[in-house]
Structure formats: structure tokens, C-alpha cells
Symmetry: C2
Subunit: 381 residues, 2 copies
Amino acid sequence: MSVQSDIAAAATDQRFGLRRTVRLPGPLKLDGGGALAPVDIAYETYGSLNADGSNAILICHALTGDQFVASSHPVTGKPGWWTRAVGPDKPIDPDRHFIICANVLGSCLGSSGPASVDPVIGVPYAMRFPVITIADMVRAQAMLLDHLGVAKLEAVIGGSMGGMQALAWPTIFPDRVRGAIVIASTARHSAQNIAFHEVGRQAIMADPRWRGGNYYADGDAPAAGLAVARMAAHITYLSEAGLTEKFGRRLQGRDSKTFGFDADFQVESYLRHQGISFVERFDANSYLYITRATDYFDLAEDHDGSLALAFGRTRARFCLISFDTDWLYPTRESRNIVHALHAAGREASFVELASPFGHDAFLLEAPEMNRVIDGFLRAGE
Amino acid sequence: MSVQSDIAAAATDQRFGLRRTVRLPGPLKLDGGGALAPVDIAYETYGSLNADGSNAILICHALTGDQFVASSHPVTGKPGWWTRAVGPDKPIDPDRHFIICANVLGSCLGSSGPASVDPVIGVPYAMRFPVITIADMVRAQAMLLDHLGVAKLEAVIGGSMGGMQALAWPTIFPDRVRGAIVIASTARHSAQNIAFHEVGRQAIMADPRWRGGNYYADGDAPAAGLAVARMAAHITYLSEAGLTEKFGRRLQGRDSKTFGFDADFQVESYLRHQGISFVERFDANSYLYITRATDYFDLAEDHDGSLALAFGRTRARFCLISFDTDWLYPTRESRNIVHALHAAGREASFVELASPFGHDAFLLEAPEMNRVIDGFLRAGE
């Protein structure tokens, strides 16, 4: 296998439009001590870089998200996951911005991850892929920006795990980012956050089909374990009130209880569907690696536990957005970040938005969020 | 197999003290339409019934609890699960009360459940065991009281699923109970409650060792699936703040992260232990049946959705206790019950107690809870 440097391989898929992957030579030094080479990064861009290179916006996706922020997904055929915020006349607008969204390191939509072929031995890495961190993801994104000729970002924007990246960006590359918008996120994973992820990992590893991660050869993946992992995680993305509003105790397509173990309740049927449809689009080993990366995330850790110190070198303006019913990364996490930013003398705005939809609110129709993003970006342009 | 009527089989286990099981002829008519016969009930009693039969207290255990409320557990050897509230000089005192605690129908500590032998075919019921409800559990308890010669209860007391039974008791047997103490419980399972249980059930059923429930012959039980189910459920028993206080992001027996998938964090190690130790004492099929019973619980359902109507026939005094950090059955659920009781013209007292420990607080040291229970009982004696 030849490692080609700095070449963007453009492949056109007639059904789904342009898919872009670049193989960068690396090596990418990793927090865990090792290095990765080559580094594949799959990404989408929208709009074009202006003459003074001042209009680039990097969008960072969430845990199981992808680069198809405003393009249809090649597997599911669904529209981009954030077309509510990205597109013509939206706050992040290809007519005004050069928009970049890359599949994170460790994922399975084209960027290097456990399903990628280890060039040394010619078979997929599986669990030989190095454990990566949020900072490693950020450094890989910076390599992509170098490749694209983007010296500096107007803004980095992300929700959930994407927000962790947006938060980490100015701490790692203080001179390369002017603004950071951090939505429904946190500066460190709590014990409860880790606990939920550990349930998911154990569900995958308990599936006999996982086989220590070596399931790529025959393609018989640990689908059942991954589906259970997704179901557990999915509950944390929704609010209790939202679930009650959406499903309550309504029965699934029948008038009375079956006194059996079929999906009697709509919420059971919905959750099962979430689990089953997830395994069609996501790799179980990638789920292990990316949940691990978020569990390891603690921005204050390398600064004697002080978040304010972590922001000491940053120069970006920050915008924090939380949702009142988000119990995965509650408002207090955003507030802690804002306090630390202010303690560090940084410019930071913060708004808590009302929504019945819990953590997932940032992915749904949220006109207020759009107004906040638009206002923050225009103020910096 | 002969069905012996009304005979209490007493077996002495030298290590663990007296274990009592009674085989009642039944049939026990079930909400699901069928009937169960015979009905085995394993139970413990403490103290003795007084001359006028006015001092009987029935304690109802939680989901995976047992009859060993103040006796050591035969499998784990651990002391009774509620010795903080039950015992000499405790609010529920064998010197004053005749205390009864029975393993619920569907469980696996001696009462009839899926692991019991179906007398018709001579092998364990497994998934042929009928799906049961909280009301079925209560009716089985009433059959035990008949057997023990207890006409009327001074009080029925329970936390969590035990609280559902305590709440249902006066609605099913209005003349047989004078007081009901309902702790950290709810009058109906919410969509979120059902969702978490469904994750657990799917984890068990996804385990290839489950085999449609037919694992008793070779004893190769779906331990991995059951452990994952327990891990997911266990998170809901603890508060986010409690987990942070107990574990935070502290690492397990090492100074730095391993950049691997071992239990790096203490909370991971703790959760894994909870899962592994649970499978030693609990049957996976029982877990399916009992979670189903709680999901089916909705006291208002048979009364046009009106909880006040559900309490219309009750004569008992009620005492509701909730804990401020319980997010499984939050305080608002108890408050709803109290409002309905008051709307029905019933006597009901209510207190929300402060605790950092979430739902599990009722099982831990809670002097305030003890004072409330003691005061309520003495006021009715």
C-alpha cells in the first residue's frame, strides 16, 4: 500500500453526491504515546474560502455523527444532520462561509479508525488501533485544515462531543481559531457519563460476535451488543418529559397489553428501532474508541484541575449554549465553563435555551439557537 | 409431583438460619387471564402476631430484592437488606410487630417464578410462566396472609417496586390494611422507566445463552446479558451528584490512564462489579418478568386514568416518602399520588427527604425516614 501525501481523492457516488477522503502522511502523534500514519480523513466542504482566508468554519460532529452535515448520508440516504443550521440563509451559510466537516478520527465513515487497514500488516486494525482522545481528533482536523490551506478558523462549532472538540480547539491551537461555539456540551465527562458509556462498551464486548474486535473478516459484527449500547445511550439523549410527551404509556398498534415480551409500549418499539437502525450505519469497535475518547475528556486535567488555567492561552471568543432539559450535559456544565472563561479573562457569552427535547435539542428545530449562532458569528465578522 | 395444600415446609440451613416456603394450592387468578397453581411463596417472619391480630406489618421488597429483610441472604451471606429500619428498637420492631416479608411472585428466591417447575410438564416454566402484574404479586401476598392467619395489616410498607405493592394493596384489599407507607415510588411507570427496563430485557435476550429462556437444564445462564442489564439499571438507582461524590473521575488503582479498555475509572470497576455479582444471585428470566410487571404498573389505568378514582375504595391512611435526588421515581411522582389521595378524601402525609444518594437512599442510613415511619406507625397503633 502506498502512502500518498497531500492528495485529495475525490470519488463521485451517483446516489449521494461528492464524498471526499484525503490520505495524509502523518505521523499524527497521539496523547496515548504512539503515532498514526497514514491518517485518512473523510470530510465534506460547502462554499469556498474567501481571498483573505477569513471565512472558514469547522463543524465538529457528535459521538456517532459524521461529516455529512448538510449532505445526504451515503448509507441511510437521510439528509444532512444539521441542515437546520447549515445551508443557504442559515446561520452557517455556504454563500458566506467556507464550511468544513470531517469525520472524527476513530470513526467509521471514512476517517482512520479500527475498521481501517493497518498498513503494516494489511488487515484492519480492530483493537490494535490506538486509543485516541478528543485532542487527537482536534489535531487530525488541524492536519486537514493544513491540507485545505486554511490557516485560521473564523469559528469552530459543535454540539455534544462536537462541543468538546470546539472547546479544546482554542486551547490546543490558540492562534488558529477566532471563535468557538460550544453547544450542549461539557468540559469533562462525569462519573455518570462514564457509567453510561461503560454499559454500552460492556454490551458490545459481551456479544460473542465481538471476538476481541476481530469480526471484520467475516463481517459477522456484534450487532446485538451494539444495538443494546445504542438503546442505553439513546435514553440519555432525550428528556424524561420529552419521552412522556412523545410516547407516554401508549401501546404499540394495539388496544391492550399482550402480557408477553413483545414491544407492547411505543417507547419500547421506538428504542428497539433506534438500536437496530444504528448497527446498519456504525461500527462497534468505533463505538468503543469514540466513547473512550469522550470518557477521557477532561480539559482541566492537564492544568492542575483548573479549567481557568486550561483557557489561559486561548484567544478566541466563546459562545456557550445549553438546553434546560439536557440531563446528559446539563446547563451547570456550560455554566462552569463560562465561569472558568471569565476567570481566565476571556470573552464568553452564554445562553440556556428552553426545549422539551433534552440533549438532542441541538439537532432539532431550534430557532433561538440559530439566532444565537448567527449573532455570534456576525459580531465576529 | 403432589400439590400439598396449606403446608409450610420449613428447612433449616445451618449457615443462613431459617428459610420458609409454603406451597399454596391456588389457583391464583392472574391479571393476564390465566391462573397459577400451585403457588409457592418463600417468606420470612419476625416477631409474633398479638392476641387481637392488630400488629402485622407486611414489608414489600424492591425489584431484585428478597424476603431476607432482616436475615442474612442465603447466597451472598450479607445481612438483611433493611436492618436499618427493621429490628429491635427500629421503627419496624419484632418486639412490637409481627413482620412478614415474602419473595414476590415471579422472583427466584423460593416463590413461584420462571425457574419453578411447571407441575404439568415437570420442567421449569421458563418463558411459559405467565406474565404477572404488581396486583398479582399483591394477591399472592394476601394468600400468604390467609395462610398465616393474618386478617388485617397494621401497615404495608415498601420502597421502589415495594412501594407500588404498598400503594396497590389498599386499592385491592381495602378492608385488610390500615396503613400504607410508600417510599421512593410511583403510581405508574413512565416512558423513561419503561425504556430503561427495555434496555435490560434486550440485553438479556440478545445474549445467545438466553435461548428463549431455556437455559435451566444445563445451567449455562445468560450471565453477560444480565450483567449488562444490571449495570444499566444500577445507574438509575444513584444520583449524578452521588456518583460524582463517590467516584468522580478517579482512576482505579493506578496513577494514569491506560489508553486501553480495562476499567480505568473507579466508576467502571464499580459498575462491572455490580453486574457480575448480581448474576450470582438472580435469575435472568425472573428479571424479565419482574421488570415487565413494573412496566405494566399504572394504578390509574383501570379507573379511566384517574388516580383519585383508583383510591376511591381505600380506607387506609397513607404515608408517602420521596428523596430529592431520586431521578428514577422523582418527588413529583409522590406528590401526584398525594394530590390524588387528597382529591379522594383520603388521609395522606408526605415528606421529601434530602439525600445525596438518589433512588437507593431508602436502603441506606436514613434517620429521618426512620422517624417518619415510626411516627406514622405509632399514630395508628
